[in-house]
C-alpha cells in the first residue's frame, strides 16, 4: 500500500511541479525584466496554469493532412514517457524512491537519449520545412551534448564507486560532489541546458527564424505535451544535478529530507529560468563548435585528472 503512494508521489510531484513551473517562469521572468507578469487569475495569478490547461484542452486538435499521422501522434508522447520514467530512479528522500537501480545513471542517460526522438520525429512527421530544419538542428545538438553529458558524470561515478543514485547521495555525507567535481558540474549543467533545449540553446525551436521549429504544426494538448515535457525536462535535470552534485536529500535535520531535496531542486530550476532571462541565443555553428572544441576536451580532462588523483590516493 505504501508502495502505491510512493509511486503516485513520484509520478505526480514532478508533473505538478512542471505544470506550476509555467506560472513560476512567467512571474520570475517578468520580475527580472521589471514588469508584472500574469497576476489576474486567482491569488498572484496562481490559477493561470489551470486557465491555460483548460484552454489547451478545448483547442481544436488539428492533425495536418500532409503529415505522417501515426508518427505525428506518437511523437509528443515519447518525451513525456522518457522524462517520467527517469524520475523512477531518482531518490526523493531516504526510502522515498521507486527503484534503486544499480545502473541508475545509465538508465537516465538512455532515457534522455531516447527523448531526442520526440523532437526529431515530431519535426519530421510535420512535413514542414521549418519543422524539418528544427528537427535536424535538434538531433545534431542533442547528439553532440549527450556525448559529454555522459562523460562529465563519470567523475561522480568514480568518486561514489557506483551507478546508483541512492549510493551516490550516501557517498556525499562528508561533502557535496560539486567541490571535487566542479568542472564536471559545469559541463553537465551546460549539457543539461542543451539537452532540455532551454533558451540559450533553444535553436531547435528558435521562434525568430524557424516559427517554433519542430512544434509549429502542433496544436491543442499535443502542443501541451511538448510544453509540459520541456518543463518536466527542466525539473528532471535540476533533480539530477541536486542528486549528483548537491547531496540530494542531505541537509540539516530540523527539516525533513524530502524538503531539502525539493528546495535544492527549486533553486536550480530558478537558475535555469535566470539563464533564460539573461543570455542570448548562440548561432547553430557556434553551439556545435563550443560543444566539440571546448566542452568535450574539458570533460575528458576532468575524467583523466579525477582518475589519476583517485589512483594516487588509493
Amino acid at each position: 500500500m505504501e508502495y502505491i503512494f510512493i509511486i503516485l508521489g513520484v509520478l505526480l510531484i514532478p508533473l505538478s511541479i512542471a505544470a506550476g513551473l509555467i506560472w513560476v517562469e512567467r512571474r520570475l521572468l517578468s520580475f527580472w525584466q521589471d514588469r508584472l507578469g500574469p497576476n489576474r487569475v486567482g491569488p498572484f495569478g496562481l490559477f493561470q496554469v489551470i486557465a491555460d490547461t483548460v484552454k489547451l484542452f478545448f483547442k481544436e486538435d488539428w492533425i495536418p493532412p500532409f503529415s505522417d499521422k501515426p508518427v505525428f501522434v506518437m511523437a509528443p508522447g515519447i518525451v513525456m514517457i522518457t522524462m517520467l520514467l527517469t524520475f523512477s530512479v531518482i531518490p526523493f528522500g531516504p526510502g522515498f524512491y521507486v527503484l534503486d537501480s544499480n545502473i541508475g545513471i545509465l538508465f537516465f542517460l538512455g532515457n534522455s537519449s531516447l527523448g531526442v526522438y520526440s523532437i526529431v520525429l515530431g519535426g519530421w512527421a510535420s512535413n514542414n520545412k521549418y519543422s524539418l530544419i528544427g528537427a535536424m538542428r535538434a538531433s545534431a545538438q542533442m547528439l553532440t551534448y549527450e556525448v559529454f553529458m555522459g562523460l562529465s558524470l563519470m567523475g561522480v561515478v568514480m568518486l561514489a564507486d557506483s551507478f546508483s543514485f541512492y549510493s551516490i547521495v550516501q557517498a556525499q555525507k562528508n561533502g557535496w560532489f560539486i567541490f571535487p567535481q566542479f568542472i564536471g558540474f559545469l559541463v553537465f549543467f551546460i549539457a543539461a541546458l542543451a539537452e532540455t533545449h532551454r533558451l540559450p540553446f533553444d535553436i531547435p525551436e528558435a521562434e525568430g527564424e524557424l516559427v517554433a521549429g519542430y512544434h509549429s504544426e502542433y496544436s491543442g494538448m499535443k502542443f501541451g505535451m511538448f510544453f509540459v515535457g520541456e518543463y518536466l525536462g527542466v525539473t528532471l535535470m535540476s533533480a539530477i544535478i541536486t542528486t549528483l552534485f548537491f547531496g540530494g536529500w542531505l541537509g540539516p535535520s530540523f527539516l525533513p529530507p524530502v524538503f531539502w531535496f525539493l528546495f535544492k531542486t527549486f533553486i536550480l530550476i530558478c537558475v535555469f529560468i535566470l539563464l533564460r532571462a539573461s543570455l542570448p541565443r548562440p548561432r547553430y555553428d557556434q553551439l556545435m563548435e563550443f560543444g566539440w572544441k571546448i566542452l568535450l576536451p574539458l570533460a575528458l580532462l576532468n575524467l583523466l585528472i579525477t582518475g589519476a588523483i583517485l589512483i594516487f590516493i588509493k
Binding site: 505522417d68 508518427v71 537501480s101 544499480n102 545502473i103 545509465l106 538508465f107 542517460l109 538512455g110 537519449s113 531516447l114 531526442v116 526522438y117 526529431v120 520525429l121 519530421w124 524539418l132 528537427a135 535536424m136 538531433s139 545534431a140 542533442m142 547528439l143 549527450e146 555522459g150 551507478f163
Partner: protein, 172 residues
C-alpha cells in the same frame, strides 16, 4: 521471468521483420529502434543490466538518431513508388524457403547440444569494466585505434582551406 523473455523476443523478431519489409524509410528505422529496445530487455532478463543500458544508450539512442538524421537530410521517402515496383512478393519465396531450411537445420543442431544455464548471477558494471581492462585490454585498445582512424578521416574530409578571397571573387 521466462514469459517476459518470450514476449521481448517475439517483439524483437516481429519488429525486425517490419523493419526490413517496410517501404517508408523512417518507419523502418522506428521498427529497428523498437527491435533494439526489445533486445535490450532480453539482455536485462539475462542478468546483464550494463549491456542492456549500453544497448539503449549507444544503439537506440545515438546510432539510430544518426541514421534518422541522414534519412531526414536526404529526404528519402520520395522513391516509395519506384521501390514498390522493385520488390514484388514473388521475390520472397525462394529466399524464405532456403532460410527456413537453414533455421530447421540450426534448431536440430542446437537440440543435440548440451544446454548451459545463463544468468546465474547478475553481472554488474564493475565486473564488466574489470574484465575489459584486464582480460580484453588488447581488444579495447585496438578498437580505440580503429575509432581514432575514423576521427582522423572525418577531420581530413571535413577540413576546409582558409579562404583568402570572398566566395564571389573565387575562380570557379
Amino acid at each position: 521471468m521466462e514469459v517476459f523473455f518470450y514476449i521481448a523476443a517475439v517483439i524483437a523478431i516481429i519488429s525486425t521483420i517490419m523493419a526490413i519489409s517496410g517501404r517508408n524509410a523512417i518507419h523502418s528505422l522506428l521498427f529497428l529502434i523498437l527491435s533494439l529496445l526489445a533486445i535490450s530487455v532480453v539482455f536485462y532478463l539475462l542478468d546483464a543490466p550494463f549491456i542492456a543500458a549500453l544497448e539503449v544508450i549507444i544503439y537506440a539512442g545515438a546510432i539510430m538518431v544518426l541514421f534518422i538524421f541522414v534519412t531526414m537530410m536526404l529526404n528519402i521517402g520520395l522513391e516509395e513508388k519506384q521501390e514498390k515496383s522493385w520488390i514484388n512478393p514473388r521475390m520472397w519465396i525462394i529466399p524464405s524457403i532456403l532460410a527456413s531450411i537453414l533455421l530447421v537445420d540450426l534448431l536440430l543442431a542446437l537440440k543435440n547440444m548440451p544446454t548451459v544455464v545463463v544468468g546465474k548471477q547478475v553481472i554488474l558494471p564493475k565486473q564488466v569494466g574489470i574484465s575489459l581492462f584486464s582480460t580484453y585490454l588488447l581488444a579495447v585498445e585496438i578498437a580505440a585505434i580503429l575509432l581514432m582512424a575514423g576521427v582522423i578521416g572525418a577531420y581530413h574530409l571535413g577540413s576546409q582551406k582558409k579562404k583568402v578571397l570572398h566566395r564571389f571573387l573565387e575562380k570557379k
